[in-house]
């Protein structure tokens, strides 16, 4: 592991397409070499609806990233999102044969197979199966059961799956650029790789990535993923709401949201109005600040509450010690963090990626959490590969999307 590797993270978001080129040094440090991004078109709610347009945008972003990093990009790690992505927790259990005392790696593999064998809809494909904990004879939370003595081995897995054709479509779009897709990663999982450190994961944390079209979330409890998912509502909806309610064009609504909007109500003076000029310096009708904030507030609150409901269903939100980590472009909205505090009643952090060398501006912006997370994911995957399935915490069969096996580099 002394050599350094270059990885590329690609996020095709609803509002922007972002390519991050990063170098993983021999000592495990990550250095960002370059970032290319382009406004995204042809993407709705995290899913590509117009291939041609999306590819043009992707190409723009790619060229910029290659220019800045001076790296020729061939392979990418792709993040995916969309409301079709679902997750489920499942426990697998095997009995160790009587003539064998010690738990072996084969047993581990077998229990993993059983745990992963959940019934998902026919058209869905597995994206990730992430180990939570092993249990040996009912004894809780064994980290590495290999070599332990026991009669019964159980494993809890968190399984994420999504509709196969939609995932394939996204991959196809990227492959036509042409770029080779190394792996697809659910964006919330990718974000969590950089947003949370080990300690936060251990204490329990929630990452909420509110992007343009979707709100992705992942819940860590006791160091393991216990819930994750995606809701097809994001910052675009806020813009859309403003456009409809205030009867202004989308572009103006977007500008208004970013420059003047606030997710907290009660911070505007009664009767205070905003005169926002558009690109042509034309000032339209004045907009009441209190109304603006209220529209944003109800939508933002709804998004946060929807996520909270999902997490409540998963069960253990009260075990979260480290708090909520907000990321994604929409989390930059004024007052969004305070609103989240109000909704969740626990500490809320506007997450920055944990220190990574290179372009500092990049990792301090929560918009880039996902693509940088992809590089971290790639790094984790690389470290795990030689050591086999013992640490195979996030590894999975990628081939099922293509039906061809990938050469291991």
């Amino acid at each position: 592991m002394s050599r350094s590797n270059i990885y590329v993270g690609l996020e095709i978001g609803t509002s922007k397409i972002c390519v991050v080129v990063g170098e993983v040094k021999g000592d495990g440090a990550i250095k960002i070499l370059g970032v290319g991004q382009a406004p995204s078109r042809g993407v709705r709610k995290g899913e590509i609806v117009d291939f041609g347009t999306a590819q043009t945008c992707l190409h723009d972003a790619l060229v910029r990233a290659e220019d800045r990093s001076d790296v020729m990009v061939r392979n990418v790690f792709l993040s995916i999102t969309g409301a079709h992505i679902e997750s489920v927790n499942n426990r697998g259990c095997i009995r160790i044969p009587d003539d064998q005392n010690e738990i072996t790696e084969e047993d581990l593999e077998e229990v993993k197979e059983i745990a992963r064998d959940v019934s998902i809809p026919q058209q869905n494909a597995f994206l990730h199966s992430i180990i939570q904990h092993y249990y040996v004879d009912g004894q809780e939370k064994v980290l590495d059961p290999v070599g332990m003595l026991g009669r019964k081995l159980e494993a809890d897995y968190h399984i994420i799956h999504g509709i196969r054709t939609r995932i394939q479509n996204t991959i196809r779009c990227v492959r036509e650029i042409p770029l080779e897709v190394e792996d697809v990663v659910v964006s919330a999982i990718a974000s969590a790789q950089v947003v949370l450190n080990q300690e936060a994961k251990k204490r329990g944390a929630v990452v909420i990535d509110v992007g343009g079209g979707t709100a992705d979330y992942v819940l860590y409890n006791d160091g393991a993923v216990t819930a994750s998912g995606c809701i097809g509502v994001g910052g675009d909806h806020i813009t859309n709401d403003l456009s409809i309610v205030l009867k202004i064009p989308l572009a103006k609504a977007e500008k208004l949201k970013i420059e003047e909007g606030n997710a907290m109500i009660g911070e505007a003076e009664p009767g205070e109005t905003i005169d926002l000029s558009d690109d042509t310096r034309f000032v339209g009708k004045p907009i009441e600040r209190a109304l603006l904030n209220e529209i944003i507030n109800v939508r933002a609150r709804e998004i946060l509450e929807l996520v909270k409901n999902k997490l409540d269903d998963a069960g253990n939100l009260d075990q979260v010690g480290a708090g909520i980590f907000l990321t994604g472009g929409c989390s930059l909205l004024n007052g969004f963090d305070r609103l989240a505090e109000e909704v969740y009643g626990m500490p809320v952090h506007r997450a920055n990626s944990t220190p990574i060398s290179g372009l500092t501006a990049t990792f301090e912006n929560p918009q880039y959490a996902t693509p940088i997370g992809l590089i971290r994911y790639a790094q984790v995957l690389e470290t795990e590969r030689p050591s086999g399935p013992v640490l195979g915490r996030i590894g999975r069969k990628f081939t099922e999307f293509f039906g061809v096996s990938r050469a291991i580099f």
């Binding site: 709610k45 058209q123 809701i231 859309n240 709401d241 409809i244 309610v245 989308l250 709804e302």
Partner: protein, 469 residues
């Protein structure tokens, strides 16, 4: 065939035999009927009725009834519902003969013209008197056919509503959604007829075929408990790998059903039919998907059956009706919003005639004499009363009128100014009843993308607007 003696809600006329007959009235009705015949329908027999004897002779149905033999002398009703009604009354005995002993009557009719709008209410009334369960599939005219036809259609609908157990409406304006833009007009009409044909067949099979979890006429009646409201209907059928997903998507996309409206329904009937390959898992998947679009407390009447003729297909039928209250609320919303911008076709009719456009008032009233005659029954009401009193008062009267189809019920009253406003208000109410879209256009840029619906709420509609309700 199954025995239905135990049915408590309705005494089936024919005792042991459950028989279904499909009526096609007028030109459009005959087209639907032809389509049904084309697709094959062994459970029911078909009967077409028309005033126009030439059109009648080209119909493929085995039984035919000519309306108004003396009155129109084999010609059409010429777009006059009054003529259509009289023609139907002339043939009342023949109609009574045709409906006698039938447990279930489907009436396929195109409203807005003469024969359909005039005769269908008469037929429905006779069928109801004979104790049949009456389901009406009505098509509404294109908006470009003008306001007058639309008003005729609405009047006819109101009359149909008093005797039909369920009324399912297809707006011709939505025909464009069924096909690709470049496809021929023939195909568009065929697609619309196909929807009606599928619906008729689905409902028939629902109540005639036994199932693993059976749905009977009683369940159907429960699901349609609000008889005077509009029925929502969705049917989807698909095969292949993702057939469950595709079928439910199809059903929810049905033009006879709007997703947003489904969230309002309190009773929903769901029937899943598949070949022998139907798996429990698929049923679960379907129901889960459907559950997302329904209210938490919605009562679901669930039925499933296997049918070898389905082959590898899977079909899902959704039937529900919107309660009056929900429809009222929608109307009020629309009334509030109508000053903003009346969208699309149906909305254009919802612009009240008396709404600031003085010159519009007179032509509108003149243009629609038939509806007026029906409404003027309750003359001395003020505008305020009109909105509330309209319903309870006018309905029984209309019912009475239709109860005795052999008499003409035309109350001639000199229109006073008060009345004119009342009529306008009524017209407005009736007109907007047709347009049930939940906040038309409120989804903005997400109008064309896949809706995000959680717990029956359409999240693409601004929270701000939803919260205010």
């Amino acid at each position: 065939m199954i025995e239905y003696k135990t049915s408590t809600q309705k005494d089936l006329a024919n005792g042991s035999e459950f028989s279904v007959r499909v009526f096609g009235i007028g030109g459009a009705g005959a087209n639907s009927l032809d389509r049904i015949a084309l697709e094959g329908m062994e459970e029911a027999d078909l009967l077409s009725m028309n005033t126009d004897v030439r059109a009648l002779s080209t119909s493929v149905s085995s039984k035919k009834v000519q309306l108004g033999r003396e009155l129109t002398k084999g010609l059409g009703a010429g777009g006059d519902p009054e003529l259509g009604r009289e023609a139907a009354m002339e043939a009342a005995d023949e109609i009574r003969e045709a409906v006698k002993g039938q447990s279930m009557i489907f009436i396929c009719v195109g409203l807005g013209g003469g024969t359909g709008s005039g005769a269908a209410p008469v037929v429905a009334r006779i069928a109801e008197q004979e104790g049949a369960f009456v389901v009406v599939f009505a098509t509404f005219p294109f908006s470009f056919e003008g306001r007058r036809r639309l008003e005729q259609a609405q009047t006819a609908l109101e009359q149909l509503g008093t005797s039909a157990n369920a009324t399912i409406i297809f707006e011709n304006d939505r025909m464009g959604e069924l096909i690709l833009a470049k496809e021929g007009i023939q195909k568009a009409f065929a697609a619309a007829d196909k929807i009606i044909s599928q619906s008729v067949r689905a409902v028939t099979q629902l109540v005639t075929k036994t199932g693993l979890i059976h749905i009977g006429l009683d369940d159907l009646i429960s699901a349609l408990r609000n008889t005077d409201s509009r029925c929502l209907f969705g049917y989807g059928r698909a095969k292949g790998d993702n057939r469950a997903q595709a079928a439910i998507r199809d059903a929810l996309k049905s033009p006879l059903l709007d997703r947003g409206q489904l969230a309002q329904a309190s009773n929903v009937l769901v029937h899943i039919c598949g070949g022998e390959t139907l798996t429990l898992f698929e049923v679960e998947l379907l129901m889960k998907e459907l559950g997302k679009t329904l209210r938490d407390d919605a009562q679901i009447f669930f039925g499933t059956s296997t049918d070898t003729t389905m082959g590898d297909d899977i079909g899902i039928t959704l039937i529900t009706s919107l309660p009056r209250m929900a429809m009222r609320r929608l109307e009020e919303e629309e009334a509030e919003e109508s000053d903003a911008e009346p969208t699309a076709a149906a909305a254009s009719a919802s612009v009240p005639a008396a709404d600031a456009q003085e010159e519009e008032v007179a032509p509108a009233r003149v243009a629609a004499p038939p509806p007026e005659e029906q409404i003027e029954v309750e003359a001395p009401v003020t505008v305020e009363d009109a909105e509330q009193a309209q319903e309870p008062v006018s309905l029984p009267v209309l019912k009475e009128a239709a109860d005795s189809p052999s008499e003409e019920v035309v109350v001639d009253v000199e229109p006073t100014e008060e009345e004119a406003v009342a009529v306008a208000a009524a017209a407005k109410r009736k007109a907007s009843q047709q347009e049930l879209k939940l906040n038309p256009g409120a989804r903005g840029r997400f109008e064309k993308s896949e809706p995000t619906i959680i717990d029956g709420e359409d999240l693409d509609v601004p929270t701000f607007l939803r919260d205010r309700e």
